[in-house]
Symmetry: C2
């Protein structure tokens, strides 16, 4: 039974640093910590690695944390526990899911010399496995909670690196607001905040057209990115698309940013669909939303789409247009739900 989510207090995007220091001190004493992290939606996408083990990306990327969606994870390093124990949304998880969490915790244990297994409980308030970056929030929260529970005082950059090793785009869920993740080496490839969550009244309307688990997850997908003949062109162009997106983001210029994020999305899905094997993440309703977005703009509704590795479409607009976009999206055949979120704060420890 999920129990964590129901207990957390109303969220603020602002984080009290004194409180974080106090929570970290307590976590170190008790070998136990709870952290919250938001998923993020990429405006410039991560797809493909130059090093799969270290999850060093082929290109830099840029994203927005999603305030209203979150994962809460608690980590307790327990004496006498034989191996790590993981529960996700109240269900015990073993196999590859547990192995991946253990690998992240091992990075922490190696650093500290701590010789204890951990009990990990994780809960999210949004559907997993459908193109909302659930693993990003999960590994960002795991890294923050795990490091604190092990008594490890890490900088934001070090936490971002740790999260990246667990799930690439998780590094972008560690800093606040709008984040840029640089390509680089194991030390330098981390995310930093370009602007806080209050920089811009942007909204992400997550148009849910399927809640099925996708048949090929992102980790598998990254490994076949290089089999597409389009991946070199994608990587070569990412830097300039990111620069254009960053500049427009800082200027709060959606009319300039929007076409760049749509193009970047199309190019990523082109790589997916032209790989060996090809990955077709789009559903008929995905295409309906893509087409509708172009039509809405012709009708003076300023909204742009982006799509992660799944069928659901993220519609990006300013807050004032969110009600009209939501209403229009809900009228499209095949749309099951629309989740709405503004820009979110950083991954952080929470009182528990």
């Amino acid at each position: 039974m999920p129990t964590l989510i129901s207990k957390i207090p109303p969220l603020s995007t602002l984080v009290n640093q004194d409180e974080q220091i106090e929570l970290r001190a307590r976590a170190a004493r008790e070998h136990r910590a709870t952290a919250l992290a938001h998923p993020n939606i990429a405006f410039i996408k991560y797809w493909g690695n130059i090093d799969h083990l270290q999850r060093l990306p082929a290109n830099p990327s840029l994203s927005m944390n999603l305030a209203d969606l979150y994962t809460v994870t608690s980590v307790t390093f327990e004496m006498g526990l034989n191996q790590d124990v993981l529960s996700i949304n109240g269900t015990q998880v073993t196999g590859p899911g547990l192995t991946r969490v253990t690998a992240s915790l091992n990075l922490i244990r190696t650093e500290t010399g701590l010789n204890r297994a951990a009990r990990v409980e994780s809960e999210s308030n949004f559907p997993v496995g459908s193109g909302i970056a659930s693993s990003a929030a999960a590994f960002a929260a795991l890294s923050v909670a795990g490091a604190a529970a092990a008594g490890l005082a890490l900088t934001e950059a070090e936490l971002s690196r740790l999260a990246r090793r667990g799930s690439g785009s998780a590094c972008r869920s560690v800093p606040a607001g709008y984040c840029q993740w640089l390509a680089g080496n194991d030390q330098t490839s981390v995310a930093t905040s370009l602007a806080g969550p209050d920089h811009w009244n942007l909204r992400d309307l997550v148009v849910i057209v399927s809640q099925e688990h996708k048949s090929v997850g992102s980790t598998g997908g990254h490994q076949i990115a290089d089999t597409s003949s389009l991946q070199p062109a994608r990587v070569a162009g990412a830097e300039s698309r990111l620069a254009a997106c960053r500049q427009a983001l800082l200027a709060r210029d959606l009319a300039t940013m929007g076409p760049v994020i749509e193009e970047d999305t199309i190019i990523m899905h082109a790589v997916m669909m032209s790989g060996h094997p090809p990955l077709y993440y789009w559903h008929p309703a995905t295409m309906a939303v893509i087409q509708a977005t172009q039509q809405w703009r012709r009708e003076e509704l300023p909204v742009y789409f982006t799509i992660d590795a799944g069928p659901n479409v993220h519609l990006i607009c300013e807050a004032e247009h969110a009600p009209a976009v939501e209403a229009a999206a809900r009228r499209i055949a095949g749309v099951q739900d629309v989740l709405i979120s503004g820009a979110g704060g950083p991954a952080r420890l929470i009182e528990f």
Copy 2:
């Protein structure tokens, strides 16, 4: 009122060369000829030119003529006619459509010194403007009829060149069966037959999801192909995809050819969707058919998709599987009709 189509006799893919010679002699005497040409479906796509005026393609392409679809065009060079007159499917056409036909006829008139305007009547037995290459059949038939009516005895290569100048892919509708169109200069960029229509019992099932005229036609599309950052990679890879496709075609090896034609289609639509402005030809039902094709193959039904500049999907399979593919396609929501065709013969003069 359409009148040509109803009068033509049952078609054969075989062409009697003696009859062609006789028809050409009569056409030269009467300044009047009627020709029939099939549209073609490209397995390796043409998208983008190195010379828009001469329609010299950025890359070589490969296609199959469609026996059961055709355009019949009659050209009469008349004394005393002030300017060319065009009717398509019984409706008088002026403006850009007429200008384009006049430009093709001018190439013939310049060659022969003939100083007469022409009356052109053209009819097709398939819907135009929806990703079935209607202009290919139209300009192939116009070239064959126009040259004959002007008394110009051209080789197949010369007719293919003439058709190319009217509408690039029309050059592939001039020779018989399965045709390859080489990139090159104005003299060398023509199509030749790789194999006759009887080489392979292949079927094209044209899955109609929309009969609307597309908002951006192919000529406009070719002109913005270069605005996509993916076009250089598409062009660079076309030669090797064509070689793989040609080899598999000659070996009648659909399991090898199919994935190549799907990849080539995806790459062309990736260029379209990532251009400036982007062109989104796919509809929701297009995506449904793409996804269904992958599912059918998992269920051991060997069929592959290809899509031209429009929303309709061409499903390619061997004749023995066509009934099962047709039945499955008709069950998909949004599918309006399925046209079926085998490989067709060359553009030729017909008795009229």
